[in-house]
């Protein structure tokens, strides 16, 4: 536990426990530093942490697991909301005109230009969104604010993904659609959108990864998702900073890797065959 990196992480962590976000844990900065006192012992595997600290992590794996579920829930809900709002918004920016187009583009600029913490704080403390009762479960107002904040910001970014890919489809495609009697809406719907969605997958992979990792910011409105819970844990056992961080990173990695691979697969599955004579 004694290499410089571990030491720095632990020191940073113990300094940070004094922040209000982590309040309530009975640890002082002094405790953290004290446990780090014996320096100089160098084990081969020290860069992946100490057995005793790993044991601590695994003992609390379910605590982190709940955080991971919250992270997944926030990500899925935000990405879906982002798509449902962002796709039409992107389409309006490409095909709309007048006030609607200007309104949509202005809202997008504002959302993209505002720090996510500010958006969340506004949602939670200023707008004061209510909790939502789904019958089987109740979504707390903090969760609702988190989904709305992350989701609307994602919509603002997703709208730009779709704006770019919709306008990247050759004008002749729309024209050919119109030439057989499809209305403008139908030609966009049946000819342009299927091609634009295929081209949106790489940008969407990025956006998904960004939203997944940005969910940690909901700590600002009191939600304990994966990273916040990790924070709580290594505040309790300050020697376990590296282990906790590695464990959490592994979860984030598995989540991003599997979804990205799933989207790769989707992209390959729907790829438009290319011939040699094109």
């Amino acid at each position: 536990m004694s290499d410089p990196a571990t030491l720095a992480l632990a020191a940073a962590a113990s300094a940070a426990v004094e922040l209000p976000a982590c309040g309530g844990l009975p640890i002082s900065a002094g405790d953290g530093l004290a446990t780090l006192a014996p320096v100089g012992q160098s084990a081969d595997w020290s860069f992946v942490g100490e057995a005793v600290d790993w044991e601590f992590v695994f003992r609390n794996a379910d605590y982190l697991g709940v955080g991971a579920l919250l992270t997944i829930g926030l990500t899925v809900a935000s990405i879906l909301l982002g798509f449902v709002v962002g796709f039409p918004a992107g389409a309006v920016e490409v095909y709309g005109d007048g006030y609607l187009k200007r309104a949509v583009s202005t809202v997008g600029i504002v959302l993209r230009g505002t720090p996510i913490v500010v958006i969340l704080i506004v949602m939670y403390f200023v707008v004061g969104v209510p909790q939502i009762n789904l019958g089987v479960a109740t979504i707390s107002s903090a969760m609702t604010a988190g989904i709305l904040g992350l989701g609307l910001r994602s919509a603002a970014y997703q709208s730009q993904i779709f704006r770019a890919t919709l306008s990247s489809v050759d004008e002749g495609q729309l024209e050919a659609g119109r030439s057989i009697g499809l209305s403008r809406f139908e030609a966009v719907r049946y000819v342009v959108v299927p091609q634009a969605l295929r081209r949106s997958i790489p940008g969407f992979q990025n956006e998904f990864t960004i939203v997944l990792k940005d969910t940690s910011i909901v700590f600002a409105i009191g939600l304990a998702e994966l990273l916040t819970r990790g924070y709580d844990l290594f505040s309790e056992q300050t020697t376990a900073v590296l282990e906790v961080v590695l464990f959490i990173s592994a979860i984030y990695f598995v989540l991003t890797f599997t979804t990205n691979r799933a989207l790769d697969y989707l992209g390959d599955y729907y790829a438009i065959p290319e011939g040699e004579s094109a």
């Binding site: 050759d170 002749g172 495609q173 024209e175 050919a176 659609g177 119109r178 030439s179 057989i180 009697g181 499809l182 209305s183 139908e186 049946y190 000819v191 299927p194 091609q195 295929r198 438009i272 065959p273 290319e274 011939g275 004579s277 094109a278």
Partner: protein, 248 residues
């Protein structure tokens, strides 16, 4: 004006901003006629063609198709395009759909045929243009000539009463032009009414009932091919034909 008059273009003018691209263009076609628009690039022939199905908007004049005013602001353009097929220079096949998908889209979504009926119709049209083996190929998997034949089948599947061809062979390698012209020949033989923009003069001479020579957005001269090609009255027509001939 004959009893069979089908298309009457009268004094059609169009501007792109300040630039006048069509100036009082007039010509007529009977049902079953083949009219070929020729002229140097930038002469407005493609624009004229596109005004007929309103992919371009003429600002002045009149286009009567089967007695109906095409330029009327009340006209349902989707309805018009249902009845007027168009073949593009760059094919413009729907890149994400197979040959059958390309041809079936109109019948399925515009005419409201069932999926099976639309597919059957698409297959029949692809057979008609000699692509019975390529039903499930994507555009990128087809040669240019094959792609253009899919383009023709796509337009035919709507059972149009007029076909517009906008330089259908200009984007093709020379050895692929023949197969497209052959399909077009077949349509002429079936009595399809066709308005064609092309640089294929021998094809024009063979099939056209009338040639319209446009230059600078104006009709310089028009007449039956043997008259226009062999005894052009206007000097500009002669010069254009000589230039074209020297490239053949």
């Amino acid at each position: 004006m004959s009893d069979d008059e089908f298309l009457r273009v009268s004094d059609v003018s169009k501007w792109y901003g300040e630039e006048k691209v069509l100036e009082e263009v007039s010509f007529e076609m009977d049902r079953g006629d083949v009219t070929v628009l020729i002229g140097p690039s930038g002469s407005g022939k493609s624009t004229m063609l596109r005004c007929v199905n309103r992919l371009a908007e003429a600002q002045e004049g009149s286009i009567l198709l089967d007695g109906e005013e095409v330029l009327s602001p009340d006209l349902d353009v989707d309805e018009l395009r249902r009845e007027v097929g168009m073949v593009f220079q760059g094919f413009n096949l729907f890149a994400h759909l197979t040959a059958v998908g390309n041809v079936a889209l109109g019948p399925r979504r515009v005419l409201g045929l069932s999926e099976t009926a639309a597919r059957e119709r698409a297959e029949a049209q692809l057979e008609r243009v000699g692509l019975g083996e390529q039903f499930d190929s994507y555009p990128a998997e087809l040669s240019g000539g094959q792609q253009q034949r899919v383009g023709i089948a796509r337009a035919l599947a709507m059972e149009p009463k007029l076909m517009l061809f906008d330089e259908p062979t200009s984007a093709l390698d020379p050895e692929l032009i023949g197969e497209v012209l052959e399909v077009m020949h077949g349509l002429v033989d079936e009595g399809m009414t066709m308005l064609v923009v092309t640089h294929e003069m021998s094809f024009a001479r063979e099939v056209a009932d009338e040639i319209v020579f446009l230059d600078d957005g104006r009709v310089v001269e028009r007449g039956p091919p043997e008259q226009l090609f062999d005894h052009p009255e206007e000097e500009r027509t002669g010069r254009f034909l000589e230039r074209i001939a020297s490239h053949d």
